[in-house]
Amino acid sequence: MTSSQTKSMQKRITITQVSEFLEEIISLGGEELLECYQCGSCTAICPITEEFNVSFRKTIKYAQFGLRERLLGDLTPWLCNVHGDCVESCPRDAKPSKILATIRRYQSIYYDWTGVSRWWNFSSLKKKLALIIFVTLLSALGLFVLYKPVLMNYISMGKFINMSELIIPGILIFAISSILLLSNAYRMYKFIGGGKDYKVGFFTAIKSILRTWLGTEKEAMKIPEKRSRILEHILIFIGLGLFIILSLPAIIYPSIYSIYPFNYILKVGRYVAAITLLIGVGSPIIKRISRSPNIHWYYKMFRHSTDWASLITVFSIALTGLLLNIFNDLNMVIASYITYVIHLGLVFSFLLLEVPFGKHNHWIYRAIANYVSARKGILRGVTHD
C-alpha cells in the first residue's frame, strides 16, 4: 500500500462517524439541519453577503455531509450576525441562523483544548448553573478566608475592602481566563487557516472590516424588528466595558476611591454600568420568558442552555453590583460585605467559565474570523495589495 493510499484511507469518513457527528449537531440545537435542501436563499438574502463573498449554504452542506474537518476550518459561521432575514426567507423553515449558531457551538467545542467547552455545551442548564454557583461560592469562601480581617474593618467603598490586596487573586484569575481564551483563540486562528494565503494588507483589512461591520449594523438599525436586538447587544457591550474600565483603577490605584471628584465619578459610573447591564440583559430575558405572541421569533429561537447561562450570569453580576452600591451608600455593612463577596465570586466564575468556554468567547472568535476573511480578500470591493 502506497503512502497516498494510506492517507486516503485515514481521511475516509465512515457512515457511523457521520451519524455520530449529526447526533452531536442536533443535540447542540441544530434540529432543522436536515430540512435544508440547499437552495441558497439564506446566502442571497443575507446582508452580510452584500459585503463578503461567502456562502452560508455551503457551511450548512458541510454539516449535512458530516465534513467535520471542513466545518472546523470554516470561518463563515462567525461572520453571521444573526440578522434573521434567512429565517424569514427559508422555504424549508430550516432556520439557517439557528443552524449557524449550533455550528459555532460545535466549533468552539473543538477549538477548546481543555474539554471543558464540550462539557459546557452538552450539559443541561441546571448542571451549568450548579457549576456557576459552585465556582462563585468557592471564590467567595476563598475571599472570606483570605480577607476577613480587612473586610470587617472598613465601611466605605475603597476602604471597605483593601483593593491592593485583591491584585494578586484578581490578576491570577484574569491571567488564567486570558490564557485559556487566547490559547483557544489561537487554535481557532490556526483551524481557519489564519496566516495563510493573505491577499490584503493588515491596515487595509482592519479599515475595511470596521467600515463593513459598522455599515451592515447601521443598515440593520433602520429596521424596527432588528433595532431592539442590536440595542440590547450594545447595552450589554457598554455595560461590560464600563464595568472593566471602572474596575481597573480600583486594582491599579485603589486610593482613587477617596480622592474628590473621582470618588463621585466612579460611584455614578458604577450605577450607570449596573443599570445599563440590567436593561441590556433583562430585556432579552423577559422576552424569552414571555408567552406573548407579539414577541419576535428571534427570542423564541435562541433558547439553548448556553444562551441562558450567559444571560443569567451577566444578569446576576449586574444585580449584585447594583445592590452592593445601594447597600454601601446606605451604610449597611454586613449586607454590603456579603453582596460584595458574592459579586466578586460571580465575576470570577464568569472569567473562569463563561469567557473561555461559554458564549462570551464569541467576541474574540468573531473578531478573528472577520480579520482573517478580510486578509484573505473574501470582502467584496476591497482591492488586493
Binding site: 435542501y37 440547499q38 437552495c39 441558497g40 436563499s41 446566502t43 442571497a44 438574502i45 443575507c46 453577503t49 452584500e50 463573498n53 461567502v54 456562502s55 449554504r57 455551503k58 426567507s89 427559508c90 422555504p91 424549508r92 423553515d93
Partner: protein, 451 residues
C-alpha cells in the same frame, strides 16, 4: 341498460374522458363554466418535450366532441347540486344565460366587431382585451358568442348613463346580428340530470403571485407569470406572438425564468408543481425562436425532468439553443425605476456566493392550484384543495365517493400526458358503472337503504 355519465370540466382531461365514454356508446354530459371547451391547454402555445403546437393537437379533439351525438355539451354552466349515490346521481346544473340563442348563432363575429365595451380578456390572462359580447377564442368549440352580463352596457348599464337614458341603452349587437340570435331577456335555467357516475376534471388555476411580495408581481410591469408568457408567445395571443415588454413594448434582450415560485416552499405550497421545469425550458426555446439573439436564463433549485424525453429536451435546450441554467433560488426582484429592468438576487450555488443580475423580463413559474371544486359535491379535499384519492397507488382515479372519479390537475399537479392517461382510466371506471357491469350489488344495497 346504459346510463349517462357526467363529466365536470371541459379541459383536456374532460374532453378525453367524454370522448372515451362516447366511443363506447355511453351518453355523456360535459359541463364547463366557460363558453368553450379547451381549458388551460387551449391557452398554451406549444407542448413539451416535442414542441408540438398545442392547438394543433388539441383542436381535432375539441372539434370531435360536438360530432358525437351522445355527448351533450352544457356550456357556460355550473354544477349546483349532487345527490344520490353510485349508479344513480341526481345532478342539478345551472345554465347561466348567454343572452345569445346558440341555435341561431353562426359564430360570424359581427357582434364582437361592433360591441363598444372593451374588457380585459381572461383567455389572454388579461394581457389583451375582448368585447362584452365575445367568442372565447378563434378555435372555440362550440364557436358561439356570449354576452358578459356584468360588463354589457345594455344588461348592466353604468348608473350615470342609466339615469340620463330614457329607453334601453346600446343594443348594438342585436342590430348587427344577421340571424337575430341576441336575446336580452334570457334567464338562468336549471337542468336536472340523472347519471350513473361523475368524472371531476375541474383543472387548475395559478397561485396568486401577489402573495409573494419579494418578487413584485403586479407591482413591476415586466414580471410575468408563465401562463402570461405563454399567451405572449402564442400567435393567437394579444401581441400575435411578439414578445414585448409590458412597460415599453420593446423586445427583451435578456429574459430570466424563476422556478418554484410558491411551490416547494413551506411558506406557500409544499408540493412540486411538476410541469414548470419543462414549461420553462420550452418557453426559453420559444423565446429563442422568436428573438434569436435573446439571452435566456433559468434559475432553478432542481431540474425535475422525469418524463419520457424530458431530460433529452433539457439537454437540447442547453446545447442546441444555448439556454443557461443556474442553480439557486432567487430571493428578490428589484426594479430599476428608469429602465424598468429587473435586478434579481440569488446565490449562484456553483460558485457559492451571492450574485445580482439585470434582466429585461422575468417570468415566474408560479405554483399551480386546483380550481375550487364545486362545493356541492362532498368530495374530500387535501389542505390545498386537491381531491383526495381513494387509493393513490392502486386506484388513483377514484375519489372517496363511490362512483365519482377524478382526472387531471384536480387531483394533483401534472402535465398533459398524465392528465390524458387519467382521463382514460376514469372513463373506463365510469363506463363499467354506466353499463351496470360492476357495483350492481352496491347500487342495489344503497337503493334499498335509501327507499
Amino acid at each position: 341498460m346504459t346510463k349517462p355519465v357526467l363529466v365536470i370540466g371541459g379541459g383536456i382531461a374532460g374532453i378525453q374522458a367524454a370522448l372515451d365514454l362516447a366511443e363506447q356508446g355511453i351518453e355523456v354530459y360535459l359541463v364547463d363554466r366557460a363558453p368553450s371547451i379547451g381549458g388551460r391547454m387551449a391557452q398554451l402555445d406549444k407542448t413539451f418535450p416535442t414542441l408540438d403546437c398545442a392547438s394543433c393537437i388539441l383542436t381535432p379533439k375539441m372539434a370531435a366532441v360536438p360530432r358525437y351525438p351522445n355527448i351533450k355539451l352544457l356550456m357556460y354552466s355550473e354544477v349546483q347540486e349532487v345527490k344520490g349515490h353510485v349508479g344513480n346521481f341526481t345532478v342539478k346544473v345551472l345554465k347561466k344565460p348567454t343572452y345569445v340563442d346558440w341555435d341561431k348563432c353562426t359564430g360570424c363575429g359581427a357582434c364582437m366587431e361592433k360591441c363598444p365595451k372593451k374588457v380585459p380578456d381572461e383567455y389572454n390572462m388579461n394581457l389583451g382585451e375582448r368585447k362584452a359580447i365575445y367568442i372565447m377564442f378563434p378555435q372555440a368549440v362550440p364557436r358561439k358568442a356570449v354576452i358578459d352580463a356584468e360588463n354589457c352596457l345594455r344588461l348592466n348599464p353604468p348608473p350615470e348613463i342609466k339615469e340620463k337614458a330614457k329607453g334601453p341603452i346600446c343594443g348594438v349587437c342585436s342590430k348587427v346580428c344577421p340571424t337575430g340570435a341576441i336575446n336580452y331577456d334570457m334567464k338562468p335555467e336549471i337542468v336536472e340530470l340523472n347519471v350513473a357516475a361523475i368524472i371531476v376534471a375541474t383543472g387548475a388555476e395559478l397561485y396568486d403571485a401577489r402573495n409573494i411580495p419579494e418578487y413584485g408581481y403586479g407591482k413591476f410591469q415586466n414580471v410575468y407569470t408563465h401562463l402570461e408568457f405563454e399567451r405572449l408567445v402564442s400567435s393567437t395571443g394579444p401581441t400575435k406572438g411578439e414578445i414585448v415588454r409590458r412597460s415599453d413594448g420593446k423586445h427583451p434582450k435578456r429574459i430570466a425564468w424563476i422556478q418554484c415560485v410558491g411551490s416547494r416552499d413551506i411558506r406557500f405550497n409544499h408540493y412540486c408543481s411538476t410541469f414548470c421545469c419543462m414549461a420553462a425550458t420550452k418557453q426559453a426555446i420559444l423565446a429563442k425562436e422568436h428573438i434569436p439573439d435573446v439571452e435566456c436564463t433559468i434559475y432553478y433549485m432542481d431540474i425535475r425532468a422525469f418524463g419520457k424525453g424530458f431530460n433529452e429536451f433539457v439537454e437540447r435546450a442547453k446545447k442546441e439553443f444555448g439556454i443557461k441554467y443556474v442553480r439557486g433560488k432567487v430571493v428578490s426582484i428589484e426594479e430599476d425605476p428608469e429602465t424598468k429592468n429587473l435586478i434579481i438576487k440569488y446565490e449562484d450555488t456553483s460558485v457559492s456566493y451571492m450574485k445580482k443580475e439585470e434582466f429585461d423580463m422575468v417570468v415566474l413559474a408560479v405554483a399551480v392550484r386546483p380550481n375550487r371544486v364545486t362545493p356541492t359535491i362532498p368530495l374530500e379535499l387535501d389542505e390545498y384543495g386537491f381531491v383526495k384519492l381513494k387509493d393513490p397507488y392502486l386506484d388513483p382515479v377514484s375519489t372517496t365517493i363511490d362512483g365519482v372519479f377524478v382526472a387531471g390537475i384536480a387531483a394533483g399537479a401534472k402535465d398533459i400526458p398524465d392528465s390524458v392517461i387519467e382521463a382514460g382510466a376514469a372513463a373506463a371506471k365510469a363506463a363499467l358503472i354506466a353499463k351496470g357491469l360492476i357495483a350492481s350489488a352496491t347500487v342495489k344495497q344503497s337503493d334499498e337503504s335509501s327507499t
